[in-house]
């Protein structure tokens, strides 16, 4: 009796230990069989869940990462760069005014459901995107952003109409020339979808319901022309599975299947890679890059296509209306040191509000020198020796241009305090008030950290987004004497049809922004990375974070 009593807890612990050990053996054998055979599945760790699969209504990178493998646009992006290349259209020409664009289409393309891709399908897509109901107009963010408006407000829309001029030739008419067209057709949201499936799945039947939008069936069952097709979204396991599309017009994908596993926690993604249960993941923490490389993985660094800036708001603090004050703040910041200590390898000091790969970048601009003495002098000349800034940074967020907002903030704050600027600390959660406060009218912060990753290769997508909308921008340029001029110049440059002339106009605007206006302070461009295990080959990192996985192979297959 006694002996049993004494033995009971020991037995329990032993049983548990035994249980764990036997688990171990089984797990190992399971793993070995699963990933080793055939090498046909690429398992990728995504930081967030896709929101839906109809790219037209999507806005976030995690959704696009998945849909990009299934959908193609008329125009594509050269892997590894931001350059526009043919995709479903082989050629495109415009009339002299830049308002009528004729696309010659590939004649050997089928959608995943067997529907033929042709000019009619192209026009059906444009009309579908243009003709949205009220809820669709709000949810169709990207179209609204690049085209201005929808069918109900046709006169303010950039898009005018689409005509199938031949079986494989479609003409799209726009209301005025813009540098963004046709480049914007590389946007994932403007991809071509199967007209049959769109109709059967009632793709436009979106409704506002409560505080959200109820999406039709199609949003979960998308049909495109890309190298992979949709299999399922296993919500309970947070896994999206795509399989190779055998009738793909181009070169077939190297792997048979892609599985996206959603693993929001960054350190868990790293551990999953180390444990061999995923083969790659996005956004490894820059401090882990070296260790990941050492253990045989490859850290694929994307060319930087983003900008981190210090936004300044003269509406919130009138002292910032003085150019000298803004220049003083700029000279006070040691960006070289900031980049070396806080940003990933390969980050660069920004000389203007766009990265160097975008046409319109002005190569003649020199970075503002770090010069605390000059900063003090400028503050004195402006009579702003007692300047106090309400300076804010976001919490609960990492962005490709800003891996650790608080550390960047602290470095800048130390610099500013060193020249006698007093700092009133502000912070808020990214979606818990920070973005609202930055873009409120009037903005709530004098100075704030924010940035942007380009959507497509266009100067206007950077500086137009920041300063093109006079009434509604975060820099409060409508209170500045030059604000209107800048907005007008941007619009005028955007409408120039001749590419060389347009590039020159944007270069000049970039010069004026940095030398004459200085509405905010561009800080840096950071290369975000993704990491893949030793068995993965053929992944081409994209500056637009638009990696295509059809070139990826696993296990030397």
């Amino acid at each position: 009796m006694r002996s049993i009593k004494r033995a009971a807890p020991v037995a329990m612990v032993a049983a548990l230990a035994l249980g764990i050990t036997s688990c171990a053996e089984s797990e190992r054998s399971d793993d070995g069989g699963g990933s080793g055979e055939g090498g046909g599945t690429f398992i990728f760790g995504a930081a967030g869940a896709p929101e839906m699969f109809d790219p037209f209504y999507a806005t976030d990178g995690e959704t696009f990462r998945v849909t990009r493998q299934m959908f193609e646009g008329l125009l594509g992006i050269e892997p590894g760069s931001a350059e526009v290349v043919p995709e479903l259209a082989t050629e495109w020409t415009s009339n002299e005014e830049g308002t009528e664009w004729t696309f010659t289409l590939r004649d050997d393309v089928k959608f995943h459901d067997g529907t033929d891709f042709n000019a009619e399908a192209v026009c059906a897509n444009f009309e579908r995107m243009f003709d949205q109901n009220e809820a669709g107009r709000t949810a169709g963010e990207y179209w609204g952003y690049v085209m201005g408006s929808f069918a109900n407000d046709a006169e303010n829309s950039l898009y005018q109409g689409c005509e199938a001029t031949d079986e494989f030739e479609a003409t799209v008419t726009i209301n005025s020339a813009t540098s963004g067209f046709p480049t914007m057709l590389t946007l994932e949201s403007l991809s071509m979808q199967s007209p049959t499936a769109l109709e059967e799945g009632d793709a436009n039947g979106i409704e506002a319901q409560g505080e959200g939008f109820a999406f039709p069936d199609y949003a979960q069952n998308p049909v495109g022309t890309g190298p992979f097709q949709f299999v399922e979204y296993d919500e309970a396991n947070a896994e999206v599975t795509l399989e190779r599309f055998d009738d793909y017009w181009g070169e077939a994908a190297k792997v048979e299947e892609i599985v996206f596993r959603v693993i929001p926690d960054e350190s868990t993604r790293r551990q999953e890679l180390e444990a061999g249960s995923i083969m790659g993941y996005d956004l490894p923490n820059p401090v882990d890059w070296a260790a990941l490389e050492e253990s045989g993985n490859s850290v694929e660094v994307r060319p930087a296509f983003n900008i981190l800036y210090l936004g300044l708001n003269p509406e919130a603090n009138p002292a910032l209306k003085d150019l000298k004050v803004r220049q003083a703040i700029y000279h006070a910041i040691d960006r070289e040191q900031l980049i070396q200590t806080q940003l990933p390898e390969g980050a660069e000091v920004a000389t203007q509000f766009m990265p160097s790969t975008v046409s319109g970048y002005n190569t003649g601009l020199e970075p503002y020198a770090y010069d605390p003495d000059q900063a003090k002098q400028l503050l004195q000349e402006a009579g702003a020796q007692n300047l106090t800034l309400n300076f804010a940074f976001p919490t609960e967020v990492t962005r490709p241009y800003m891996p650790d907002p608080q550390k960047i903030y602290e470095a800048i704050r130390t610099n500013l305090e060193a020249v006698g600027i007093k700092i009133k600390v502000s912070s808020a959660a990214w979606t818990g008030g920070y973005l609202d406060n930055v873009s409120a009218e009037p903005g709530k912060y004098d100075a704030y950290l924010l940035g942007w990753t380009g959507d497509y290769d266009s100067a206007f997508n950077f500086i137009g987004t920041f300063f093109g909308n006079l009434k509604d921008n975060d820099f409060g340029t409508d209170t500045m004497p030059w604000g209107k001029q800048l907005a007008d110049d941007l619009k005028a440059a955007d409408a120039i049809v001749d590419e060389a002339e347009r590039t020159a106009a944007f270069e000049e605007i970039n010069r004026a922004i940095m030398e004459d206006y200085l509405p905010g302070l561009p800080i840096s461009h950071s290369p975000p990375a993704l990491v893949v295990g030793p068995e993965v080959e053929g992944l081409i990192p994209s500056p637009l974070t638009a990696e295509e996985f059809d070139t990826v192979s696993v296990g030397g297959e």
């Binding site: 959200g212 868990t268 818990g432």
Partner: protein
């Protein structure tokens, strides 16, 4: 008994109603909102206003609340804005619930099956190495934050020794049939033993991490309670009567010592649900806690409302069950 249960159920409806109002107002008093999360860097005043109008968020709060009540009365709790846009919030909650229940159940199983025997033996051998060791162990369990425990468990068992999976609910490539949403149970029901075993393996680390605090609490309460009962006269009388140790233990000591343990175990269910938020996040375990964390970060009002109110309903129901089992263990409660 029936009247007791009915009264409690009516009370529950009142509690849920008040909670819905408080929750509604609290969420909307938080800075930021779903519109911010939906727009990201692309937001401007104009865009925000348009989206707010489309979602009815520009209406006065009382109007919004009444609308919410009206819809809720018809079983419509709105659709998710960010966790899984367009999907019914209640469906998301119900789909995620089995994972959390499964995880909490295993955690509670570990806590109870270790906590009660250890507490009992520690009390019987007060001052022994087992007693001291268990006390230290339970104190560590309470003091160390769950995410740290989780990190250590993952690091050693999953990454270094590769004994157990790092995260998730099942391995990629396991093709399991879903019946109830409880993966282990589903595997058993459909006789897909591989799937059941795989799901069980995925449960071990998160369940152990989640069990540390309830284990410590149950252990300490059991120990204290048993110590108290052992001092009681009736135990001494029973011993004097010459009853066997087994009878004394089962009929007198354990049964009487269990009352506070049952209560505290019931209360731990609430703590488990709260703990699951963190555990599920750290282990990417796709349950309610994980949805709650995402919904909170992205201010997905409908999902937040459904989850918090759903958790409250469960909590109240569990407490009701505790009271009923209390009545079964202690007949005196029934007669009151």
């Amino acid at each position: 008994m029936v009247r007791f249960i009915v009264r409690r159920l009516i009370q529950m409806v009142g509690v849920i109603f008040v909670l819905s109002l408080l929750l509604f107002l609290w969420l909307r008093s938080l800075p930021g909102g779903p519109v911010s999360a939906m727009l990201g860097e692309r937001q401007t005043e104009a865009r925000r206003e348009a989206l707010e109008a489309a979602l009815g968020l520009d209406q006065p709060l009382p109007v919004q609340y009444l609308r919410f009540l009206q819809r809720a009365a018809q079983g419509d709790f709105g659709v998710s804005t960010k966790v899984l846009p367009g999907q019914d919030a209640l469906d998301i909650f119900l789909a995620r619930l089995p994972a959390t229940i499964e995880l909490s159940f295993f955690a509670l199983l570990i806590a109870v099956s270790l906590g009660i025997p250890l507490g009992y033996f520690a009390a019987k051998r007060r001052g022994s190495a087992l007693d001291t060791g268990s006390i230290i162990f339970s104190m560590v369990g309470i003091a160390v934050p769950v995410f740290f425990t989780a990190f250590l468990l993952k690091y050693f068992f999953a990454v270094q020794w590769q004994l157990l999976p790092v995260s998730g609910r099942s391995s990629t490539g396991i093709d399991a049939t879903q019946v109830t949403g409880f993966f282990v149970l589903d595997g058993i029901l459909t006789r897909e033993w591989d799937a059941a075993w795989d799901a069980f393996l995925h449960l071990i680390l998160p369940a152990v991490a989640l069990s540390t605090i309830p284990f410590a609490v149950i252990f300490r309460i059991t120990r204290a309670s048993v110590l108290e009962v052992l001092e009681e006269d009736y135990v001494r009388t029973a011993e004097a009567k010459g009853l066997t140790t087994r009878v004394i233990r089962a009929r007198h000591v354990l049964r009487n010592a269990m009352l506070p343990v049952v209560t505290i175990t019931g209360l731990q269910v609430g703590a488990l649900l709260a703990g699951a938020v963190l555990t599920e996040t750290v282990f990417s375990f796709r349950g309610v806690g994980d949805a709650l964390a995402t919904a909170f970060r992205d201010r997905d009002y409908p999902v937040l409302q459904v989850i918090i109110m759903g958790a409250a309903v469960i909590y109240v129901l569990v407490n009701l069950l505790v009271d009923i089992s209390y009545a079964i263990i202690d007949p005196r409660v029934r007669t009151r």
